[in-house]
């Protein structure tokens, strides 16, 4: 599997995700946002961080980069695309994913390990997990409060396009387990074709028991299949 990680000025989880991809034997390349040609890839990752300082709206300025046109083309031809944290925000700004990420309900940056539930394991990103499996994954964001209109929300539900929801350690989905106020506890969503996943939690931070746990590994290994 060949992967490309897009690097914007201000990206800061690019190295972390590259470590995860390399650990899983992806042939990975870093791609600077000013490039106009994307190397051939099976997976494109838009990493976390503060592209352009998160100025204006998180992800807004990166969403206008030259390389994004290529990413959109690749996405439309079925390439797998993963956006983590700021990457998710960028994907919504480009329109590849619908909805938006508002400020956390407590208006503070939040870094902690949270529980999320796998909502659908019939996708290229989640096949190695069980549906309803509870994972413990680190979040680190200021704008993770997912919001979308009623119509799209119905679509997400009816077509099984919700990837992960925040839950407690037993898998209950409730307000208390919702760290940022996201609508219906949504932590990650797919596009209609399920070749694009945007998620706020950082799977690349959970690949090493010495540092945390390895609940994130199966996301990458799912992609290898």
């Amino acid at each position: 599997m060949r992967s490309s990680v897009i690097v914007f000025p201000g990206s800061n989880c690019d190295r972390d995700i590259a470590v995860a991809l390399e650990k899983m034997q992806f042939k990975n390349q870093m791609v600077w946002h000013k490039e106009t040609i994307l190397p051939k890839s099976d997976l494109i990752v838009i990493p976390g961080g503060f592209s352009y300082g998160d100025y204006l709206r998180s992800g807004a300025i990166a969403g206008k980069s030259l390389i994004i046109e290529e990413v959109i083309k690749a996405a439309n031809s079925g390439c797998l695309i993963l956006g983590v944290c700021n990457g998710f925000q960028i994907l919504t700004e480009t329109g590849l994913l619908k909805g938006t990420l508002l400020r956390n309900k407590n208006l503070k940056f939040i870094n902690k390990d949270v529980n999320i539930k796998v909502m659908n394991n019939h996708t290229r990103f989640t096949s190695k997990y069980e549906t309803d499996q509870v994972l413990k994954i680190n979040i680190a964001h200021n704008e993770g409060n997912y919001f979308t209109d009623q119509k799209h929300l119905e679509e997400l539900k009816n077509q099984n396009l919700i990837g992960f929801k925040y839950c407690d350690d037993k898998g209950n989905i409730n307000d208390e387990a919702n760290p940022n106020g996201a609508i219906e506890n949504i932590a990650g969503i797919f596009n209609k074709n399920k070749n694009i996943l945007g998620m706020m939690p950082h799977p690349e931070r959970m690949i090493d028991k010495l540092i945390s746990n390895n609940d994130g590994l199966n996301l990458f290994s799912s992609l290898l299949n």
Partner: protein, 726 residues
């Protein structure tokens, strides 16, 4: 130019100092030159009151690559890896504008570290606020925490440890100290010493605006009612640009283009150019027309004194300009040659083809004033605490009172606002004795911690100085790291008062003694005087930031109990020293007394045996005993692990409160598997280590036989409510 006394004073210069300037120049300075002298001769840049004392600190050791005097200290951790670190204060700016003050404090210390060729890998901070009931405290706390997080999170360097304390003494003068730690290759370290004639002096980074003009003089002035007036000089941080600057500098540092590099910190362009020239025994000529400016019509005075953030000055090797320019352009940063090195030994400033200022470099550096200020010694207070006379309180109530107090409450309200995990190498986050950061792609790690004890330092500065070094050393040992070296941030009041100068001199004496004894040298640091208002000075608050090495990271040790039925041991003798304890402070509001004795011999022996046990994998968990005493340390181990304890009443009982709340130094609590007990006891006996077996871990309850029994969940709640309710 003739100046009115008032103008000279406004520049923070005394009239004798002005006379020396006239003598050094053999004429009167013009306004630009006066501004430059004021920036270079103030306390912050010249260390004029502290220098003779700082000289006494031990700064050498096998592990030291670079001691104080550069942008940051550098130590050797083997295999061509070096750690670069320093701590710095941003107290006054943070009091005026807490968000930006704290943010730019983080930005400034990061530049000190990456100028030396290191990639920053961890941030720490030491924060001292006024009383929680003081009307300003809450917004200062909020602003400072989000400022620190805002900068560190955005640039993508984990903030992994720190301390947050509240005390009336900081009501009008909070302390915000930030520490940065970086990793470099030992053979690729960059310094600030200029070399060679006619080398290009290059300005890179953000444009220059009117930010913080006179910031450096402000940092050295006491606050008064007029301090409001100083507000418009606030600098705004731009962590995004700093991230670009960091990447661009590290990219340029891959080859040999750079002769010298220096960040523009306090006193911006002035101090950076003077420092490089002075170290290289050269002159420097700047063409101020070329300085990239953000605002229109900026004067040479404003350009030279601006403290705009995210800027660096580089002296480039010949023939490297175009390559370097490409790198900075890739990162959307300004790159302008603004001058050259000269053989005049002068700082020469040109503007509109005219020389606007010319000052001998040595007048700004080696000839800057140095004062041997008067100071007096402090006697150990001869208080005699009569425990018997105190109103009896239940041990449980005393414990609850401490655990729910602002100073002892769980800090996760703070630490969850910091990204602690970015960069993927944080082995241990906040909440442990020291944070552990793995060296990227290696099996070794460093441990880092910051510590202070203003109450001890106030009461008896020498003891306090020793104690903070020891506490820091203990925190590093407790996570299995061999302590290597420290940085220090010395926050004190007005040095012109002899009692305050005495506090300074004696704290340093204490730090020196402890560092020497423990082979724990000082490799960098910062002095912040004039903390206080209208003659009310803060408690002396030196802060120690330490770094230790964990050579083999197979099984990191922490303070969480690991299982039930293991044996709990205290290493080090408990005398029951209650004076200046949190027990007396929180329960009886008694704040006088003397600090606990520091016995360096025991400190060293106890630390070494703990490290030995950890290295031999004989310990399940470890925690040092610090303020709050044994009972607080035990409860922290319980709360973090959700495993309880059953403690037996100590046999040689002094007084139960003295035993559990006493703050005697040099102690650790260890959790030990019973099967290893014999072996360990033998090691203790062979090494003459004093230890006591005090009980066992158990399920669910925090218990002292016949004294108290609390469900850990309740303990946890008690410890977690303060910040959320504040």
């Amino acid at each position: 130019m003739k100046f009115e006394e008032k103008i000279i004073q406004k520049h923070g210069l005394k009239s004798e100092e002005y006379k020396s300037i006239q003598k050094l120049l053999k004429r009167d300075p013009n306004l630009l030159e006066l501004g430059i002298f004021s920036a270079m001769w103030n306390e912050h840049c010249s260390y004029k009151s502290s220098r003779i004392h700082l000289k006494k600190l031990p700064t050498k050791g096998k592990q030291v690559i670079q001691g104080p005097g550069e942008n940051a200290g550098v130590i050797d951790i083997g295999d061509n890896d070096a750690i670069v670190f320093k701590i710095e204060s941003h107290n006054h700016p943070s009091y005026i504008e807490p968000y930006q003050g704290a943010a730019t404090g983080v930005g400034g210390i990061l530049r000190d570290v990456f100028t030396m060729g290191a990639r920053p890998i961890a941030l720490l901070n030491s924060l001292h606020f006024g009383s929680p009931s003081h009307p300003k405290t809450k917004s200062l706390l909020n602003g400072v925490i989000s400022g620190i997080g805002g900068y560190g999170n955005c640039i993508g360097i984990p903030t992994v440890a720190g301390e947050t304390k509240f005390n009336d003494t900081y009501n009008e003068n909070i302390l915000v100290n930030a520490m940065a730690v970086g990793h470099a290759k030992k053979n690729k370290i960059f310094y600030s010493k200029a070399k060679g004639l006619n080398k290009a002096v290059v300005y890179v980074g953000s444009k220059t605006g009117r930010d913080g003009i006179h910031g450096a003089s402000m940092a050295s002035a006491e606050f008064d009612e007029n301090s409001e007036e100083k507000k418009p000089t606030v600098q705004v941080g731009d962590p995004f640009t700093e991230k670009l600057l960091l990447e661009a500098c590290l990219e340029l540092m891959k080859d040999d283009s750079i002769i010298a590099i220096q960040d523009m910190g306090a006193a911006g362009l002035t101090s950076s150019s003077v420092e490089m020239a002075s170290k290289g025994n050269l002159g420097v000529e700047l063409d101020l027309d070329k300085v990239p400016c953000r605002e229109e019509n900026m004067t040479p005075y404003e350009m030279m004194l601006s403290e705009s953030q995210e800027r660096m000055l580089i002296i480039l090797e010949d023939g490297k300009k175009e390559k370097a320019r490409k790198i900075f352009e890739k990162w959307d940063l300004d790159f302008v040659v603004i001058g050259k090195t000269t053989n005049t030994n002068n700082l020469t400033l040109k503007f509109n083809n005219k020389i606007e200022g010319e000052i001998p470099i040595e007048a700004l550096s080696s000839k800057a004033p140095i004062y041997n200020r008067k100071w007096i010694k402090k006697k150990l207070p001869n208080t005699k605490l009569e425990t018997k006379k105190l109103k009896k309180i239940k041990i449980e109530d005393a414990l609850v009172k401490i655990l729910s107090s602002p100073n002892y409450s769980n800090k996760s309200w703070i630490t969850s606002q910091y990204d602690q995990m970015v960069m993927g190498d944080t082995v241990q986050r906040s909440g442990s004795d020291a944070a552990i950061i793995r060296i990227h792609k290696k099996e070794k790690a460093i441990a880092v911690s910051v510590d202070s004890s203003a109450n001890y330092c106030k009461s008896h500065p020498i003891t306090g100085g020793k104690q903070i070094v020891c506490e820091n050393w203990r925190n590093l040992i407790s996570v299995g790291a061999k302590p290597l070296a420290i940085t220090n941030c010395l926050n004190f009041g007005n040095p012109e008062i002899k009692e305050i100068m005495g506090e300074f001199a004696e704290c340093l004496e204490g730090i020196k003694e402890a560092c020497e004894f423990l082979n724990f040298p000082v490799v960098s640091g910062n002095v912040s005087f004039y903390n206080g208002t209208n003659k009310k000075n803060i408690y002396p608050t030196p802060v120690i930031g330490g770094v230790g090495l964990i050579n083999k990271l197979s099984k990191p040790i922490d303070l969480k109990f690991k299982k039930e039925k293991s044996c709990i041991i205290i290493i080090g003798k408990t005398f029951g020293h209650l004076e200046l304890s949190s027990y007396l402070r929180e329960n009886y509001s008694i704040i006088d007394g003397k600090p606990p004795k520091v016995n360096l011999v025991n400190e060293k022996n106890n630390g070494e045996i703990v490290l030995d046990l950890i290295n031999k994998d004989l310990i399940l968990s470890a925690h040092d005993v610090s303020s709050g005493g044994v009972i607080i340390a035990l409860s922290e181990m319980s709360m973090q692990s959700e495993i309880g304890v059953k403690i037996e009443r100590p046999k040689k009982l002094i007084d139960i409160n003295e035993f559990f709340f006493g703050e005697d130094q040099g102690r650790y609590i260890l959790e030990i598997d019973q099967k290893n007990l014999d072996k360990i006891e033998k090691m203790f006996n062979n090494n003459n280590i004093y230890y006591e077996k005090i009980g066992f871990t158990q399920k669910k309850y925090f218990e002292i036989e016949n004294q108290l029994k609390i469900d850990i969940n309740d303990l946890f709640k008690i410890n977690n409510q303060w910040y959320n309710n504040y």
